[in-house]
């Protein structure tokens, strides 16, 4: 059972870890400037594993149904519905992230 936070606070709240090491020292980027984008990618990466868990649970329940280990079809429906919804969330977030990246990269400087 996953309980994902529907608001995008994790995506915009900058976590302190990781970014300072990547930021070029003495460059134009101030050390205090933290990227929300990197955190968004990291959060999406963590979400991928949860989506994968749900997908595998749904696969396992389908297998159990087909092999006769479990004949409760409603649990299969539940697992598949959860996997479907979480995957759609993941795809939506990923599309949005990539779109944002592309828009940034195509910005004329």
């Amino acid at each position: 059972m996953i309980n994902f936070d529907p608001n995008v606070r994790p995506l915009v709240s900058p976590a302190a870890s990781g970014w300072e090491k990547i930021a070029p020292e003495g460059g134009s980027v101030a050390p205090s400037a933290k990227s929300g984008f990197l955190n968004a990618i990291e959060a999406a990466g963590k979400y991928v594993s949860r989506v994968d868990d749900l997908q595998q649970a749904s696969d396992a329940s389908i297998q159990d149904l087909l092999t006769g280990k479990n004949n409760d079809i409603t649990s299969v429906v539940s697992a598949v519905a959860k996997a479907d919804v979480s995957f759609k969330v993941l795809v939506g977030v990923r599309n949005k992230l990539i779109e944002a990246y592309k828009q940034t990269m195509n910005m004329p400087l």
Binding site: I2, T74, V77, A81
Partner: protein, 134 residues
């Protein structure tokens, strides 16, 4: 009472579908055994009733709490030629009434449909929300 779970409606609707499925199983047993004079131990089949219970207090799914026997009296049918008839020529038959079972079956099937409709509607709702991402 926590209601911020995204998969809450899915779980609750599925628990309703499961409970109604079990209810339908009990009803089918009642209908199949409507004329079973001997359900083991020489006693006629006793009609079974499903008792539902909420999983937790507040917002929750439903589970089948227990399946109990209907305590209403068995039917007495006049059938003097039957070898199982007693001195007055009556035989004891199950306390299953088919019209009542058909109504219970309709209720169970409509309730199952309602839960399935809720699941479908909720999925569409989530998809509508995700459309906003595009």
């Amino acid at each position: 009472m926590k209601v911020d779970n995204t998969f809450g409606p899915v779980d609750i609707a599925v628990s309703g579908m499961r409970a109604q499925g079990q209810h339908m199983e009990v009803i089918s047993s009642n209908i199949a055994n409507a004329r079973t004079a001997d359900a083991g131990g020489g006693q006629p089949y006793r009609r079974l009733e499903t008792i539902l219970r909420a999983q937790t207090e507040g917002v929750s799914g439903v589970v089948v709490d227990q399946i109990v026997g209907d305590q209403s009296p068995m039917q007495r049918l006049y059938d003097p030629g039957n070898p199982q008839a007693d001195a007055s020529g009556h035989i004891t038959m199950p306390n299953v009434h088919l019209p009542a079972e058909m109504m219970n079956l309709s209720i169970a099937s409509r309730s199952y449909q309602a839960n399935a409709a809720l699941l479908r509607r909720y999925q569409r709702m989530v998809e509508t929300t995700l459309e906003l991402l595009r």
